[in-house]
């Protein structure tokens, strides 16, 4: 494909101007209410336990402990974190497997944050793996018991497990977990899980919000780590997304489906075809996950050095678009793919 065609196509960014920061308004909260928020899932689990079991205060205390540990991990207070880890371990020691619901429910509350602690603060991937794999069993029990929202925990746990294996350099294992969960989320069927995702989904908005989170989590991670594969032919991404034999969930945004097809074409070496598809579709809109738009945009700019043909103001606009619209910091852009080398 001629670079000038791409340059013409990229003129769509001529009018790009970042939107001013939006004022908080109360209606925004309701329109976003179906967005994926994993914190709510743990609270939903607490409420489920409270409904099903006595000892409301004890279970709330356990939930509160896990939240405190999560917060200090997020703020990298590694010494304070040990205090809460000890408290959590005291609670683990009191669990009795014969009281199955409590056993699996409390482990479902503790395990993710313990995995996070070992993964994020200690960089101990093996221990993190142990907590995560145990958690998958716990969640399956809860789902079987009737806590259907456990499916949200399950999908997130698959993503987390993929992340941990990825960071440990175990790309094959990582791709296996990622593929299973992505097949499930993209499909209208139940695949290897207990029931189709649509049975617990609140709305199409929610599905697309979850998909954005998962796509971005996997694609940005892969592109930033050359060991997982070349930028435009990333073995990890191919292993996750290639040849998914599924019927797509109807609630999925069509433009995201197009973007996925383009990403796969390019990654499989059919760059021309992929870019032609890109020119024929409308993927540069906010409904498409930022990582996919970033990938395709980068491919367009690279193809036959099309980026060199762009006038300076347009280059600036594209950089602004990457920062403001795709939400990337300058350093992220540089880690992913030095933009200066492109435009």
């Amino acid at each position: 494909m001629n670079a000038s065609i791409i340059a013409d196509y990229l003129k769509q960014f001529e009018d790009y101007a970042p939107e001013p920061p939006k004022e908080a308004d109360s209606s925004a909260a309701s329109s976003n209410s179906n967005k994926f928020d994993n914190g709510h899932i743990f609270y939903a689990l607490l409420e489920y336990i409270i409904r099903e079991l006595p000892e409301r205060e004890k279970h709330t205390y356990c939930y509160s402990l896990s939240q405190k540990l999560l917060r200090v991990c997020q703020s990298k207070e590694r010494n304070v974190a040990t205090y809460f880890v000890n408290k959590v371990e005291e609670q683990y020691a009191l669990l009795n497997e014969e009281q199955a619901l409590e056993y699996h429910a409390l482990r479902s509350i503790f395990n993710p944050v313990m995995a996070y602690y070992h993964y994020y603060l200690q960089h101990d991937y093996e221990r993190a793996e142990g907590y995560m794999l145990g958690l998958l069993e716990n969640i399956d029990y809860l789902i079987g018991h009737g806590f259907l929202d456990g499916m949200y925990m399950k999908i997130e746990q698959y993503l987390n497990t993929a992340r941990v294996y990825f960071n440990a350099g175990q790309y094959d294992k990582s791709a296996r977990y990622a593929r299973v969960v992505m097949q499930y989320l993209l499909s209208s069927g139940k695949e290897t899980f207990e029931f189709p995702f649509s049975e617990v989904l609140r709305s199409a908005n929610q599905l697309n919000s979850i998909l954005a989170l998962f796509f971005n989590g996997l694609i940005f991670k892969a592109l930033a780590k050359p060991e997982s594969g070349a930028f435009f032919r990333n073995d990890f991404l191919l292993a996750v997304f290639r040849e998914m034999d599924i019927s797509f969930n109807e609630m999925m945004e069509p433009a995201t489906r197009d973007a996925l097809a383009i990403l796969l074409r390019i990654s499989e070496g059919e760059e021309e075809e992929g870019l032609e598809m890109a020119l024929d579709t409308q993927i540069f809109n906010e409904k498409v996950p930022a990582s996919m738009r970033y990938f395709v945009l980068t491919a367009l700019l690279h193809h036959n050095n099309a980026g060199d043909l762009l006038p300076e103001p347009l280059k600036n606009n594209i950089r602004l678009y990457q920062e403001k619209e795709l939400g990337l910091t300058a350093s992220q852009i540089n880690v992913l793919r030095p933009l200066n080398a492109i435009v």
Binding site: R56, Y61, S64, K68, K76, E77, R78, N79, V80, T82
Partner: protein, 456 residues
């Protein structure tokens, strides 16, 4: 498991007894979080009845440490967390005294001044010590310096040299750098301010003005007895008029008023004076009780009692708010450290090279004993005493060796003992917030309702 209402709470009276909603403010000192609660809920909390609380409220009360595990020895748990939390500090903090000299001879100052300024050798050793601290503290994100004295501006060349080098070290390691200065303000001309503010990242200049001219000039005088009020105020006014004055922060100048029984009547007058100069949006102000320092017992001799000061402080805060000052958050924060003394990443370096854990020790004869000094930068590190008296504050509290009152005080988590040095000296002096915390809760509520997490 059994749960209880934490003993580390403060509860106000019902805010408006005539209102349909009988509400109180509850402040958890273990978390530093305040909330509005209905009186009926509070009555139940007091008797350990949590059944009426919704799941969400119960969860928040546990999160805020208002309801806690009954088996906990709360005091020991707080100390455990404090000791761990201090290790999580993300900054290396240095208080540097580039000179032992000062133009002033304030009657309450415990320092003995001399013409000693910091040698190049000591400066080099400070930089080496900084590198040592940074190597030791792997999570450091910030290098922070407080320039202190004597009067630090009398050691200006050392400040410039050290600041340039420390900024370079921070930059090389990808760390942030910031600085404060505590100065009498006499030499803080606008050009010097500009250099320090813009190029040496000093974003807070604490200048003491002991209320109005009449009183300031009786106490903050030069060693020859000359008055200083007019010179300092002229400097402040000129600095505040600079175009770049608020380029980095909103309030680069903090005016500290040391208050005792001789000048407390003039605090509001001084506030009016600052307003009349058009500085209310330019400076921050705070009031502090005169206390004993070293061998100077000004606190005993003419200080206000804690209760007196606490009552006046609320009046002054309200007055400032009425005059339109931007008010900062006035409630005490839950910190893991009591002050710099318990933090090994925080040290004071004086002009002679002495390293101390507390900025009140240098140049102060009362604290010349070895138990107060970590070592001297010019000596070999093997001679350093890393277990100076005040560094062991939390261990001593845990065994109730000092300050048995602290373990019984509901404000302990936000105070952590106030001033360990005073306790070791046998002086029992709780911070004034102990006497006015309820008023502060109400005032904060009135100042900014949104800063409270309303639960019900």
């Amino acid at each position: 498991m059994i749960f209880k209402l934490s003993k580390y709470i403060v509860v106000t009276d019902v805010l408006d007894p005539n209102s349909e909603k009988q509400q109180r403010i509850i402040f958890s000192t273990r978390s530093g979080i305040s909330a509005l609660i209905e009186d009926a809920v509070y009555q139940k909390l007091q008797v350990g009845d949590f059944t009426g609380l919704g799941n969400n409220v119960l969860s928040r009360f546990m999160d805020y440490e208002i309801i806690v595990n009954n088996e906990e020895d709360e005091f020991q748990e707080i100390l455990k967390l404090n000791k761990l939390g201090v290790k999580d500090t993300k900054s290396v903090s240095m208080t540097i005294q580039p000179t032992a000299n000062c133009q002033l001879g304030c009657f309450y100052c415990g320092q003995v001044h001399s013409k000693q300024t910091m040698s190049a050798d000591v400066q080099e050793k400070i930089l080496q010590r900084l590198i040592y601290q940074l190597d030791r503290q792997r999570d450091t994100e910030l290098v922070h310096t407080t320039w202190y004295g004597g009067e630090p501006l009398m050691g200006y060349s050392a400040i410039i040299n050290l600041s340039n080098r420390m900024q370079e070290i921070a930059r090389d390691r990808g760390l942030a750098y910031g600085a404060y200065m505590i100065t009498n303000g006499l030499s803080l001309k606008k050009d010097i301010f500009t250099e320090l503010y813009l190029h040496h990242k000093i974003t807070r200049f604490q200048i003491t003005i002991d209320t109005v001219k009449e009183h300031h000039d009786k106490r903050r005088i030069t060693k020859k007895g000359e008055s200083t009020f007019d010179i300092i105020m002229k400097n402040i006014v000129e600095i505040c008029a600079l175009e770049h004055y608020q380029a980095r922060v909103k309030h680069p100048i903090f005016i500290r008023m040391n208050v005792d029984e001789s000048n407390y009547q003039h605090v509001t007058e001084f506030i009016d004076y600052i307003v009349s100069l058009g500085l209310k949006d330019k400076v921050e102000m705070g009031f502090f009780p005169i206390s004993n320092w070293g061998d100077k017992n000004a606190g005993d001799e003419q200080g206000l009692t804690t209760n007196e000061f606490a009552e006046l402080e609320i009046e002054w805060l309200m007055y400032m708010q009425e005059q339109g000052f931007t008010m900062e958050y006035i409630l005490p924060l839950r910190n893991y450290d009591v002050c710099m003394v318990v933090n090994e990443a925080s040290e004071v370096y004086d002009a002679t090279g002495n390293i101390t854990p507390c900025y009140e020790f240098p140049y102060t004869p009362k604290y010349e004993d070895k138990k107060y000094i970590i070592g001297n930068l010019l000596e070999d590190e093997s001679t350093y005493n890393n277990k100076t008296q005040v560094r062991g504050w939390y261990d001593d509290l845990a065994t109730c060796n000092v300050s048995p009152k602290c373990s019984k005080c509901n404000l302990f988590p936000v105070c952590n003992g106030g001033c360990p040095k005073d306790w070791y000296n046998g002086e029992v002096k709780c911070p004034t917030v102990k006497a006015n915390i309820e008023d502060k809760l109400v005032l904060q509520y009135l100042m900014d309702k949104s800063s409270l997490k309303t639960l019900m």
